[in-house]
């Protein structure tokens, strides 16, 4: 008996690797043949989830030269197509030998995505433009499961659909998808006025949504709610929000790096958190390890763009804070002397033996008095027990905070006046806030958008970002009153407001003010304030020199200056340092009358507006810079560490 020599199998997969099936449908090409004279063998793809047979042979003229002994080599190409379950499979490419057995010639991973939600429109057509108010019909099918709701979306419209009509044709087309049998739908109503590409949106049983785009365009010009005066084809006027240009200054790595823990009295949504986040980001970029503890709402960390520090809750920090190098904090920066901050700081110093720096940004006794509605003297005379009872955790206890400052290794203050609260001889560093240069930079007024927003030509837009609370209610009321005075005197002024009101500070003025104020509520992401603030013509910080304002530095001021608009502010805190009519417009008292006069003057004097805009930018460039502030703060930390 004569025994023939075994055939030598060769093959390769030509589909670029890694092998992917992006819509659940596998499409693979390659070649497979014997070196000896023999017809190209049947080929298959075998996975644990299923098998795909050869779909068709293809010509491969190049193989004849490589396998001259096989006259059939030029027919050695293959294509395999078919569905496979979603997942990453190990795909065995096998060829059938003359004896009927299968032999592996290649093995690759194959990532198969789930088959997508699919939909088609059939009536009144599958493509083109629909201009009539008609019902639409079609089919919608999600191979992964049931659809619980279906709608058609185009332009600003969303039309509900009734799904579940029998479709035997689709049942035959998708035999492995039982829901195909009832995948027909009809729109619940006729099309409403609107214009845009039609999408079919499905709500799935899993709670997720899926969209299928169609080649159909809807262009219904009018309906009972939309007259011909509305042009759905008009171009949308967007609010521009360009990114900052310019590279960050190079940062010399800190050696050795410090473990720094900031402790905030409120969540990451607070103004203080903006300062701490900016400093922690800069210090982290300089090589230090930073963590920021907040008493509640850790999720508000998401409001910050790309934080370079770790956020944690007080509850977690109480058990000790360990940094990446396995050590605890070298220095704890208590952001204010407020009770919740003080308690955690004292606890962590006992545990870690770290140095403590206390940051002061308000006249804390005055803030407590304003919040509790009791004078400072009255509070000082309260018994220890009564004082402990009335002081809330997010304000400073008059006695405990003094002791806390006395025991601290150093202090930072936001204004020079706050040094009064720092014990004599204690190292103290003044720390000015700045504006996030990624978002707050000179922005032109978006004229097109203002053209849409303004009620008429010559309108002035003021912008006030920030919450209203007992401590600033009276002065914010003056700003609102100024808006009223200006509108009453024929100067159309709109005040854009963001932030929350914790007190009713307008009383009977509210109704008259309503047409002139656009309250936008809390803007979750601080970076979105910048393009909104660019809508303003003038920024106003109301107030006057007093026991509250002299000690604070409104955190919005650096942002006002950085955006390059005239800034009207009272002669207190920063107002004492800027030059009137050069850097800003300084009022002895930024009350309603003073603000209204300043706005009138500015609207009448474009040259002054231009000068103050340029002056604001120059002042911001010279004085507000988080990078410089952080470098100076790091130097201060270092001096404490070595003292």
């Amino acid at each position: 008996m004569q025994v023939s020599a075994p055939l030598r199998l060769h093959g390769e997969v030509d589909t670029p690797r890694p092998l992917r099936a992006p819509d659940g449908l596998v499409r693979l090409t390659g070649w497979c043949l014997f070196a000896e004279p023999a017809a190209p063998p049947p080929v298959r793809v075998l996975t644990a989830a299923g098998e795909l047979p050869l779909s068709r042979r293809t010509d491969r003229a190049d193989l004849s030269a490589r396998f001259p002994a096989n006259p059939d080599a030029a027919r050695g190409g293959f294509e395999i197509e078919g569905p496979l379950p979603a997942g990453v499979h190990l795909a065995r490419f096998e060829a059938q030998l003359p004896d009927g057995s299968w032999q592996l010639f290649k093995e690759y991973t194959l990532a198969v995505e789930p088959r997508p939600f699919a939909a088609g429109l059939e009536k009144p057509g599958s493509q083109g433009t629909v201009r009539e108010r008609v019902h639409l019909e079609g089919w919608a099918l999600d191979p992964s499961g049931e659809i619980t709701g279906l709608s058609l979306r185009y332009g600003h419209q969303e039309i509900a659909c009734r799904l579940g009509e029998a479709r035997p044709d689709l049942a035959r087309q998708f035999p492995s998808t039982p829901q195909a049998a009832r995948s027909g739908f009809t729109s619940a109503t006729n099309l409403s006025a609107g214009r845009g590409a039609l999408r079919v949106k499905a709500r799935l049983a899993t709670g997720q949504s899926a969209i299928a785009r169609t080649p159909l365009v809807i262009d219904v010009p009018t309906d009972e709610n939309h007259g011909p005066e509305v042009d759905f084809g008009a171009e949308r006027i967007a609010l521009p929000h360009p990114a900052a240009v310019g590279a960050r200054p190079a940062v010399a790595p800190a050696e050795p790096p410090l473990n720094l823990l900031f402790v905030l009295p409120g969540s990451f949504a607070s103004n203080s958190a903006l300062h701490v986040a900016a400093l922690a980001n800069e210090l982290s970029l300089a090589g230090h390890r930073c963590a920021v503890a907040v008493p509640h709402d850790l999720a508000t960390l998401a409001h910050h763009s790309a934080p370079a520090f770790r956020g944690l809750l007080f509850a977690e920090a109480e058990g000790g804070v360990t940094f990446a190098d396995g050590r605890g904090p070298d220095l704890l920066h208590a952001w204010t002397s407020r009770e919740n901050v003080r308690r955690l700081a004292v606890q962590l110093r006992a545990r870690h033996g770290c140095r403590i720096v206390v940051h002061l940004e308000d006249n804390e006794p005055q803030l407590l008095a304003l919040t509790l509605g009791r004078s400072g003297g009255e509070l000082e005379n309260l018994s220890a027990a009564e004082l402990d009872r009335v002081v809330p955790p997010d304000l400073s206890h008059p006695r405990h905070s003094r002791a806390f400052l006395a025991q601290a290794d150093g202090a930072t203050v936001i204004t020079d006046r706050l040094r009064e609260f720092v014990p004599a001889g204690r190292p103290c560093h003044q720390l000015w806030p700045a504006a996030d240069a990624r978002y707050f930079f000179p922005r032109p007024r978006p004229a097109a958008f203002r053209g849409t927003l303004d009620r008429g030509p010559g309108e002035t837009v003021l912008f006030y970002p920030g919450n209203v609370h007992p401590a600033n209610a009276a002065e914010v009321r003056e700003l609102y009153r100024a808006v009223l005075l200006l509108n009453r005197s024929g100067h159309p002024v709109t005040l854009l407001r963001t932030g929350l009101d914790t007190v009713d500070f307008l009383g009977p003025l509210a109704a008259e003010l309503a047409p002139h104020v656009l309250s936008l509520g809390q803007i979750l992401h601080h970076r979105h304030l910048a393009p909104l603030m660019a809508l303003a013509d003038i920024f106003v910080q109301p107030g006057a020199a007093d026991e509250f304002n002299d000690y604070r530095f409104p955190s919005k001021l650096p942002e006002f200056f950085a955006l390059g608009r005239p800034v009207v502010l009272p002669r207190t805190n920063l107002g004492r340092l800027v030059r009137h009519r050069h850097d800003a417009y300084v009022l002895e008292q930024a009350d309603a009358e003073g603000i209204a006069d300043a706005v009138r003057e500015l609207r009448a004097d474009p040259a002054l507006v231009a000068a103050l805009s340029a002056g604001a930018v120059a002042f911001a460039a010279a004085h507000f810079n988080w990078h410089r502030s952080a470098a100076a703060l790091a130097k201060f930390y270092r001096s404490l560490a070595t003292s």
Binding site: R17, P18, L19, R20, V88, L90, E107, Y108, T109, A111, A238, L239, H241, F449, T452, L453, R455, G456, N487, G490, P492, T494, L496, A514, P515, L518, S519, L520, G521, I523, L524, H525, H528, P531, L532, L535
Partner: protein, 177 residues
């Protein structure tokens, strides 16, 4: 500023407010999109890397399987060789044993031969000694013979011998010799 009817003014105010809030929402959605795009790209990249790595491992596994198969063949060959070698070893050991037996026999023969040789050597030594003694005797006798020969030649050369030649001839004649 001419004021609009209250309802219109209120509507306008709401529209203006919503206009800005819609822009805020758009910015948030754009942020979400911009955050998701790199994450999606990263996920795609990671999947591609994971697949590439897995493909490399599959290829390595296939190569290792080929190596294992080749080693298995070598093992089978070596096992066969071992069997053949074992058989040859057994045969060689048998031959060796036979050879050793033969060597032992030869050794015994050699020993016997050596014994005979020793005895022969002793005989040879004795014969040697006897030969030497005989040689010595022979030498002394040869010496004596020489002396006698010389003496004879001297005698025969002497005048008396020559003068008595006739007498000896007479004697031989008479004695019958």
């Amino acid at each position: 500023m001419k004021s609009a009817p209250p309802e219109t003014a209120e509507l306008l105010q709401r529209v203006r407010q919503q206009l800005i809030l819609a822009q805020v929402r758009i910015m948030e959605l754009e942020d979400a999109r911009d955050e998701l795009h790199p994450k999606l790209a990263t996920a795609e990249h990671l999947l591609a890397q994971a697949q590439t790595l897995a493909d490399a491992k599959v290829e390595e596994a296939a190569h290792l399987e080929n190596v294992r198969a080749a080693l298995q063949l070598q093992f089978e060959h070596l096992r066969h060789m071992q069997h053949v070698t074992n058989e040859a070893l057994v045969a060689t050991r048998a031959q060796l044993a036979a050879a050793e037996n033969r060597i032992e026999g030869l050794a015994n023969s050699v020993a016997a031969s050596q014994s005979v040789a020793a005895r022969l050597a002793e005989v040879a030594a004795r014969l040697e000694r006897e030969l030497e003694a005989a040689n010595a005797t022979s030498a002394s006798r040869l010496t004596r013979l020489g002396e006698l020969d010389a003496e004879l030649r001297a005698t025969k050369a002497s005048r008396s011998w020559r003068w008595t030649k006739w007498l000896r001839a007479l004697e031989r004649t008479f004695s019958g010799r």
